[in-house]
């Protein structure tokens, strides 16, 4: 993993993103990020038998923001909701053979977006979703996007 530049896997997902688009009237929807910070991603999921059967995303952001979004759609499909909730930012980065250090926090929000989508589904089902206090990153990822590398 180099300090600069993206891995081949990141570039592949950036240039050929998987599962791009919108699901009309989805079972779950999650959106994180803020255009001010340079990253916004949204994830749409459909569920059957407690498993993710369909997933789509749209992302505004840099190369790693788009690649991580694409990657997580491949990781999540077919998984149970509990398994999907376990996918971490690190898992996504590892599946892409790593991300440049400065991108790890700012442009690696896909796992958060997926969790928001799952929680949205659960809420619609009337399930009580515990709030972990970490609201989706509407305010530039803890301390603001400008503070990521400081």
């Amino acid at each position: 993993m180099t300090d600069i530049g993206y891995t081949e896997k990141v570039m592949d997902h950036f240039m050929n993103p998987r599962n791009v688009g919108v699901i009309e009237d989805p079972d779950g929807y999650g959106k994180v990020g803020n255009p001010t910070c340079g990253d916004v991603m949204e994830i749409f999921i459909n569920i059957a038998d407690n498993k993710i059967t369909e997933i789509k995303f749209r992302t505004f952001g840099c190369g790693s923001a788009i690649a991580t979004s694409s990657m997580i759609t491949e990781m999540a499909i077919g998984k149970t909701l509990e398994e999907a909730m376990e996918i971490t930012r690190n898992d996504v980065a590892e599946s892409l053979d790593g991300l440049p250090p400065k991108k790890m926090h700012c442009s690696n929000l896909a796992a958060d977006a997926l969790q928001e989508a799952v929680k949205d589904y659960w809420k619609k089902q009337g399930k009580v979703v515990e709030d972990d206090g970490e609201s989706p990153e509407m305010s530039c990822g803890g301390g603001g996007c400008d503070s990521c590398v400081k």
Partner: protein, 398 residues
Amino acid sequence: MDNNKIYMDRGSATPIDPRVLEFAHPFLKTAGNPSALHRQGLEARSAIEEARAKVADLINAEKPASIIFTSGATESNNIAIRGTAMRNIGRGKHVMGSAIEHMSVLNPLKDLTKSGFTMDLVPVDKAGMVDLAKLEELISQETVVLSIMHANNEIGTIQPIKEISKIVHEKGMYLHVDATASAGKVPIDVQDMNIDLLTLSSNDLGGPQGAGALYIKTGTRIQTVMPGGGQERGLRSGSENIFAIAGMGEAARLAKEELPVESERLKRIRDDLIRQILKNEKTFLTGHPEKRLPHHASFRFSFIEGESILLMMDFQGVQISTGSACSSKTLEASHVLLATGLTHEQAHGSMVLTLGHENKPEDVKIVAEATKKTIDRLRMLSPITQEGEEYPEEEHHH
């Protein structure tokens, strides 16, 4: 350079002109110290003096001795700002710049505030032009120096240096001009423009990296900021980088000779490029529409992000630059674009094209097509379809 690639990022790094390389190459082999009296030393000395005369000629300096060589524009800017501020501390402790200066001007200015100086940055308008009324208002009896860039590297806007010079000199202070982006692209006459100090970079002229120059008008009160062996009139101690300096001199000579024809040629290609790219929807020119560097085109596109633009253009064989936060070292949005009144969101979607010798009229079609493809693809991916609507101004945390 790869033949299948189109390089339009000369503002970031300029390929060394092959003629310059051929001229300066012998000086990589000779290890003469210009301070030594033997033949090798004298040859090195004469190479440096020849380069000094060529650089002086490019900017019509009153004499070659008004030029000192440095390691680059950053060092020239530091010497100019710190050197005049510290030497004229008896006059006052106030320094000024504009809001769109390069970091190598902004940070030395900021650094002086640790030594008890106060600092003001003159705002610019939407086109990046310095607000002259505000400039005059901010100058006080205490002001020692104003540092202003001749032309901006990100948005291409050229400042009215003669008018600024008049204001500054009526107040009896010094004017430092950073001409890194403009030298060799538009004519510079330090005597006619009445400039006290002027920064030049070798690489931006097509010379080797590792050299720069500072013009210092005769009689300017300046002190050394890096004491040492006393080279370059004591203002820039350290053994000279002869290869880079000789190359810079030759690059300056070629730039002066070719400027009138080459800048017209590049301007025609550039104008065509702007016309083609502005055909895309929600696409805007940044910087001044007319008062801009002839080889410079800069844009912003709504709903998409600059690093992605850069990567997708690169994939299509076109190398460009962006002011996007994500591609910068600090992840901060471009202070230049923000100073022209853009929001962070808007500043993220910028693209800068800087043309040079290797660019041809037929490049326009390829670059315009690559740009259109890039915009279309990234917008298809983007969840943002209307600017500022979903995230009203008050939710911006900056």
